[in-house]
Point group: C2
Chain length 163, copies 2
Amino acid sequence: MSVSVAANDSRVLLRLEEFLPYRLVILSARTSNAVARIYAERFQLTIPQWRIIATLGQYPVCTGRDIALHGMMHKSTVSRAVAALVKRGLLRKEPNAYDMREEHLRLTDEGRAIYEAVVPQARAFEEEITAAFDPAERKEFIRLIEKLDAHTRKLAPDHDPDA
Amino acid sequence: MSVSVAANDSRVLLRLEEFLPYRLVILSARTSNAVARIYAERFQLTIPQWRIIATLGQYPVCTGRDIALHGMMHKSTVSRAVAALVKRGLLRKEPNAYDMREEHLRLTDEGRAIYEAVVPQARAFEEEITAAFDPAERKEFIRLIEKLDAHTRKLAPDHDPDA
DNA sequence: CACTGTTCGTTGACAGTGCAACCAATCTGC
DNA sequence: GCAGATTGGTTGCACTGTCAACGAACAGTG
């Protein structure tokens, strides 16, 4: 801030660097960019694509709707990302005979291989960043994050349009 | 996840809901969306636009470059947001006689009025979310966030292209 | 059976963003 | 002073995400 000569002396002043929502954004952007590099560079996956693979790695069969809810994504985002993954052969769509509106999604072997290649690296990265903490701090941080998460979820329910 | 019948039984498994980077993204998205509503609905400001106003509220005179660094934004993002704000009369550009490449930016009275209208609401919102904590927890949370922030900054330096 | 309302998924239009190329002003070394 | 490198800022382009509208498949009602 080379140019600024003095801070605002008004009573109304917000220090952005100390504003919690801003801090969270910065922190999450940095970590999430770093994680994205893991699967973006080596496997050419976008963030929504990775989230879909991650969800299907965890729950082998889902509908698009399930994935959208689980990954906080818009259904159109999911739709396009799924299309791209199917085209690349990482995902398969299977019609659901009991409800022809929805389609069951499942990883192909190739898709699962990517999942299994990325997961250990993601885990390692998580280790790396939480190495900032000693064990007690780490546990406490998780606890506080959970508490904050639950609280904000009540305050600002994730806007669910119809998704 | 109505359809999934069983969790993956492979040794390679990542629980997305417990993956720290993912949690941070979700948490920060929710809080930052809630904050955005404050200035988006009433004042039609985008996030970069608000960050610029917030920076100039704190440091009355800056260059675009200063703002980009301070707010973790790309210089093109700043350039466009500044243009929009100037057009709306919330910001003024002033040539710097000592270096004609850069332009000094300053809030107009109208711009400052918006800043002063938003800040108390932003503060109030911060209060609201940290109400999840008792005073000791709040202090500890800030401390841990700072520690994590410092650590990740070393690990994954904010990609600075030339900005 | 229609008739209405809802849900899953796709698609077109649109806005915001990042990247890269670019211009103009400045600085550096010769 | 001049050539080349550097820096602040703008802009064209491609890419994504969001929103709104839509078609198709269900579910409930009379």
